[in-house]
Symmetry: D2
Subunit: 344 residues, 4 copies
């Protein structure tokens, strides 16, 4: 299958290329970038030297229609919607990695991101979390790939929400490596500012990823889920570690809590429920499409603690997008994705 | 004043020496260590070469009596109690950095640490958090210096507990640099295991520091405070960043929430309430005795989020111990401690 | 082909498993370890959970004979030789990752490592640097896989030595990530000691890797090559960056210097000669089997500076071992090895 | 004494403030910055909150004349010269941290930096390396504070050059933390690009710091010294580790090589010659004004290897500038500078 990557000059674009280059069923026919048009891939990304002869180009979305069967769009939110609209109009299948098509409620979108660039397509995409929406993905042409933070919250939490086991008021403390912010040139992302440092950010306001968690969480719970979310910036390149504090509605012994996760994910290739006593770690998933989860019932205080770790650029972005593509096209779901994490 | 450091070969010992070497009113007369006895300080700790002519010695506590007016004891918990008992019997003032004398309830101590090595002294020490117990410290000879995690939780939380503003069920997510574990030779603390990694540990059981938080919290609240505590290990050498999730009993607008902290700490030299919108960071306190705090009311979800950052080896251990000594001896409280953080 | 990994519980063992798990032509039939015998792979290495059902076993080398066609031995030097001897006697092909069979001169070996454990096999292995000894590898059953430091020195240097372009007195400054030391439990490898730190080690004595550089270098030069070698420990998990200072025998303009490398490596899949002006970086090769090289002629001072970067666990160890196996068995040389580096 | 810091918004400015705030004989009367004028110090640099009431101002240099007795100028090269000229004209003593007044030869300056902004002052400043020019500093009003790389090269090398013990052709491999590049907003200094990475830069051309090394080296040697210099960027915030490869003119046994350093620095408070067998490390000097040095004679290969480590922001910049000021004003040379390194 011929695929193109639109807006490929950032970290999610680079990660997509890394994965697609080893995919036996896809051929990358185009990579586009405004800033880097004309540059060979291996010059823009020295790590890819020798692996591809492609050059970045400044292609209009419509011009990709004849060339690619499916496009991954890695543009910033708001910028993505119009390009996606053009691609869809031209009949190209799309996996969009921006936030533009993840939400169901237009008002919520506008509060978080401002006016939507393709309102006619609002609600048209399938939310690309295979563990929640595998069937819908299997037969669609348009996917909104989930955010990294929401994936790390929803995977451990949804099984409990679906069964109505926990109260719908949820507290989340997430820690993310800096690649989650992309390649932004801000003083706050300089090495000398990040190394040996950790701090919370955007506390108390509505972080843009919260509506996504609340919408999908509410969908699973069948009632309104409210999330207090405190994200932190870590001195790591990759990875998200998330801790979710919840409260069981009725007694939930430790063994039952873990069984909820084990039953939910027994057949899932990319969600690993860790053995009793083990906790998810960024190292355990580095460079891979795994999301490791754990449930710990603190019986003394009545808190159910859910833990998750994933690589924000793989299961939190580009790997998940390829997983969705595999499902859309009927390829084996794990194709190009079942690599061992890079440890140490 | 003549001081000695007992069990000085670990990180808190080294940090104490770093601070005491610049203290204008103390003379270090002895540093003891089982393993390093005989070694010049500058050989055991190359960073101290040229700064002191002392050698480690294997002194019995009692033998220090004639030589030192005050001893800092940096021994592991359980090992500390008998040494402290000897020193106290010999009339030496003690600031103990272990956990052995921090708790008020012997049963709680035994559950967490096993049998106590000097039960006759249980309850004899003042809990050395100057911001809570300054007056008691001013006239005492025996101090139990607080743990790093409890300091980071109590400083932002206690002002709210004292006024009865929040419910006594508190959720805490803490992140600590690896020096908090001391110089332990375990595979889990090797660079290749910690770097680019983050994970929670000791989740759900009672972390040893929880009783200390709950005791001091309850004391401040006048009712039982219960803490769900999830500690994480960070890829940093120093620093603790703590996020406390609480729930106001009645409406507490953002401005009032911050005012609670500002009023509590207006006169405190080492607790800095950050400006509205700023969040505490490890970098902002690195190498210093400051604890930076912030309060953020998430009005949409009804959660009050309290944030703190401190250097676990300074305000979380050795700096706090010197601060207590300054108070015990009537020195200016900030002596040797008002250094600017090492930034970048 | 059925393969086994002997002594698989360290970092090179883990890395071999990571690579072999994606190799389409090999089946891992056994992984052995003294300490971890009985443990499922996914428990010993949580990153491998879900990827393999193997358990560590405590197999005698001879017992592997019927089960595996080829063994990778990842034992420490000296311990490796007797196991390799048994395997060879039983007719099993071996790729040995220790230092035991890399040297040609027994006296040199003994000076560096002490008595040899299988003197009858001394000199029997092919030195497994495919870029130097591809033909010999193609038809052999016993390979001594090169050390990480020597690979990083030889690849940029040998093309100049072969043509007699530089003086045989060479100065090398190498910097290595800590995984090069394996999983050793020494205080010096703790995170708090390595992070934010760099230092040289084993300066001036004969580092164990020097004889390997000098032997292979002399072989290429046809005269005695002498190497002054200063290794440094870096605060990174992976990677070696090497700077070689040499002196051209006659005028060697910059363009010609680079052309020497370009000609030598035009057909090599894993050695990338960087574009003029670019310098090799650890990031550019992280997790991959590439070795990036560059030549810079400092015409003002008459020094030819050669630069190389590789991942010590891949091209410096396990990747190179698989590359050798591919050649030994007539598989495509790049099988399982042409992965894009993990960037960022 | 009243001092001002001109151009204080970068890392060297911040470090100067950190040191001056603890200096018992100086009062900081002004800190200037174009971009940050009006901001309280504690807002621009949160780490300094609570330590100073100063605000940044946009003062003309001349306007500082009446207010400050001595100015530290932390402006970029070329921008510094005219400001320094104004200050000197107004009779203010100056310690300039830029490169503008370090060189003796105007032609060399212009080749490296372009036209000089105050040619009339060229050669008027004393080169502020106290270990080489203590006497000249003791009675001067204008100091050019040395660069970080040259300090790390000259301190271990000059004792050998002065005695004519080594050949004047010197090879230097230096590794620097990123704060050496200041707070520059370039993609190459982002955390995700620097962490887990190392690479050489500006290889082969004349790095701007080379003329400074060669001028001071030649002055010490009494003959032309030529330096081949390869700088590397490290994933650390602070620190420079330098390895110098030299060749003794005649036999120089190890004991004599170390004795050369020991004799040269026996009385120096900030240069520590490490014990036999120890190597300088960034950690050993972190946050301090020490420069640790070592000499190792590799008798087998005839290379004398000199090693040095310093904190680029302290002994490599702001600490050294304060050391010069102490000498200029007859204060104790170690005032405010004899702090223990921040370890771990």
């Amino acid at each position: 299958m011929k695929v193109a990557v639109v807006g490929a000059s950032g970290y999610t674009g680079l990660e997509l290329l890394r994965i697609l280059l080893r995919h036996p069923r896809t051929e990358i026919v185009a990579v586009t970038s405004e800033q880097r048009a004309g540059l060979p891939l291996g010059e823009a990304f020295p790590s890819l030297a020798g692996l591809s002869d492609l050059c970045f180009e400044r292609a209009e979305p419509a011009a990709l229609a004849g060339r690619a069967d499916l496009c991954f769009t890695c543009l910033p939110h708001a910028a993505s919607a119009p390009s996606v609209a053009e691609l869809r109009k031209a009949g190209v299948a799309v996996v969009d990695l921006s936030a533009d098509f993840r939400l169901a409620d237009p008002a919520t979108y506008e509060r978080a991101y401002g006016p939507h660039g393709a309102p006619e397509l609002f609600g048209a995409a399938v939310y690309g979390l295979p563990e929640l929406h595998r069937e819908a993905l299997a037969d669609c042409d348009f996917v909104a790939s989930p955010g990294c933070y929401p994936t790390s919250v929803l995977l451990p939490l949804v099984p409990f929400l679906r069964r109505g086991l926990v109260e719908p008021r949820v507290l989340v403390d997430s820690k993310s490596g800096v690649s989650g912010a992309g390649r932004k040139l801000e003083a706050g992302f300089l090495f000398a500012e990040i190394d040996e440092n950790v701090s919370a950010y955007k506390v108390g306001g509505v972080h843009r990823h919260v509506p996504e968690m609340e919408e999908q969480g509410s969908l699973a719970a069948g009632e309104d889920v409210v999330v207090t979310f405190v994200p932190h910036l870590l001195p790591t390149i990759r990875g998200i570690a998330t801790t979710v504090f919840t409260r069981p509605r009725t007694s939930l012994p430790q063994a039952e809590a873990r069984a909820v996760l084990e039953e939910a994910y027994a057949e899932e290739p990319f969600v690993r429920v860790l053995p009793e006593g083990a906790t998810p770690s960024l190292a355990g998933v580095r460079g891979s499409n795994f999301c490791d989860v754990q449930a710990v019932m603190d019986e003394r205080t009545g808190s159910l603690i859910l833990l998750a770790a994933l690589d924000n650029l793989v299961k939190g972005a580009s790997g998940q997008a390829v997983q969705a593509m595999n499902l859309m096209r009927g390829f084996p779901e794990t194709e190009a994705l079942l690599e061992a994490p890079l440890v140490p």
